[in-house]
Assembly symmetry: C2
Amino acid sequence: MENKDEAEWSKFFHENKGPANLEESRDKISKFCDKHKDKKLVLITSGGTTVPLELNTVRYVDNFSLGTRGATSAEYFLRNGFAVIFLHRESSLKPFSRHLSGDAMRKWLQVSESGEVSVCSSHAAEVSKIVVEYQKYEDSLCEISFTTLSDYLWMLKTAANILNSHPNSLLYLAAAVSDFYVPTGQLPKHKIQSRNSIFAVPKTFCFTSEGPPTVELQIVPKMLSPLVSYWAPNSFVISFKLETDPNLLASKAKGALEKYKHNVVIGNILQTRKKEVWMVEKDAVTKIELTNEELKSGVEIEDRIVKHILTLI
Amino acid sequence: MENKDEAEWSKFFHENKGPANLEESRDKISKFCDKHKDKKLVLITSGGTTVPLELNTVRYVDNFSLGTRGATSAEYFLRNGFAVIFLHRESSLKPFSRHLSGDAMRKWLQVSESGEVSVCSSHAAEVSKIVVEYQKYEDSLCEISFTTLSDYLWMLKTAANILNSHPNSLLYLAAAVSDFYVPTGQLPKHKIQSRNSIFAVPKTFCFTSEGPPTVELQIVPKMLSPLVSYWAPNSFVISFKLETDPNLLASKAKGALEKYKHNVVIGNILQTRKKEVWMVEKDAVTKIELTNEELKSGVEIEDRIVKHILTLI
């Protein structure tokens, strides 16, 4: 079983090359870890991964994620004294900047007669708090971006290897990672045409004269297995399990923990994920739930999640 | 042929219901058009459409688009006296706010001792210009959002119908619209499981014990046909054709114009779309190209595109 798993993920990395910025990112993470060697360190993954359907990518399969869980959690880890490596989908939400969207800013900014641009008084206190916190924690935050599933897995492996030699490291895997992909070697070079006319028909995106077009996908090897056993056996590993069917969540979360033998699975349901989660450990399940009053007053469930994790490590 | 096309798009709207905010959006667009009845009016579509693979959507097929073309063009149409209906993908770039990303703002904002939050002097002039312009044009801008392909097509049909009775209306279709979809009735309710265990296997996302999983997609009916013939026959219609293979672009752009008999196809190549485009009209093709110096100095090709359109209408 171990050998089969190993063969699968070795094959994946053999068939799908690393991103262009892999070496540069490895250096950046190494230096960041050295600088913060006396702190608690967490690698947070955040946002969805894309699965390109063409080499010159116009179309791709994506996973729903704005990156809210990861970006919010990063803020609470920083407030609790961690140095944070934030491995996020390019263009998904980031810590602190998530509160300062362009839509908000184009409404909140005002220009004085002397040309000074400032935040209007009704939002100044709120924005001030964010800016001051960002400046306080900026040096404890290392941001690395990915877009595709393959880039994500390369970066995860690279970062996990580095964190493994750090005495107090946590992996907090909040990214929404695709279960399916199309190997690079099977991708058509150009944008797929909507009628198969002058094109050789690519195997992965198949038109027949009879039936509808179909996309053939491969199942992504489960990377939690080598992560826990080989890449970061010394780290405390927390994964997420998102479902839309509440009847499946408990068994899926417990199943993942038994299979991969890591430390915590945080179970959540798509529709209620900001209100309730289940922290599934080997011998305990803790439900964390916000009241409607807490939600209204701006309490974020990631505050409670991080506090709970602090009791476990 | 006409009848076959009509049957196809009627079937699409029959099988895929409109979004919850359709009536509200119709009202908003109607009022906006009434208010600006003496102005030139443009409907700009912008951003990619999603094709959900589940009803409670975790996974979807997406089209690459940040919405830069649409958001930038909207700014130049506003500067040239148009009232702009901006039909955009939720969370894609918007006019003016595209310059004020959270990443930039968390770096550019500073807090004074008295608690005032202002933009640092090195970026004040640039941000000031954007804020002043946004305030100037805010009332001439009507923003409507969509996420899925189906929502987009419902909104497009609704908006086009309203604009058709306006004497000077332009449709500028810059959204990256999927050619493929899965009809709502064929979607599985919940997140697809990566191994077919306890689940009934949904037809559209098919696992077999032998081969790889496959997704069956339907081809989206070409909506330019009813748009030009029925929904907005009085409007000036501009569509975009994006390719990755330069050898295909000219024939595809000309082919679209001949087929749908609208006014302009703007052809562009994914890799060079900010530097060069081809304006394809019935009897002329005009290439618009920026020099490297112009690109470096911040000239945007949408400025030239809008100026060229002004010579045609």
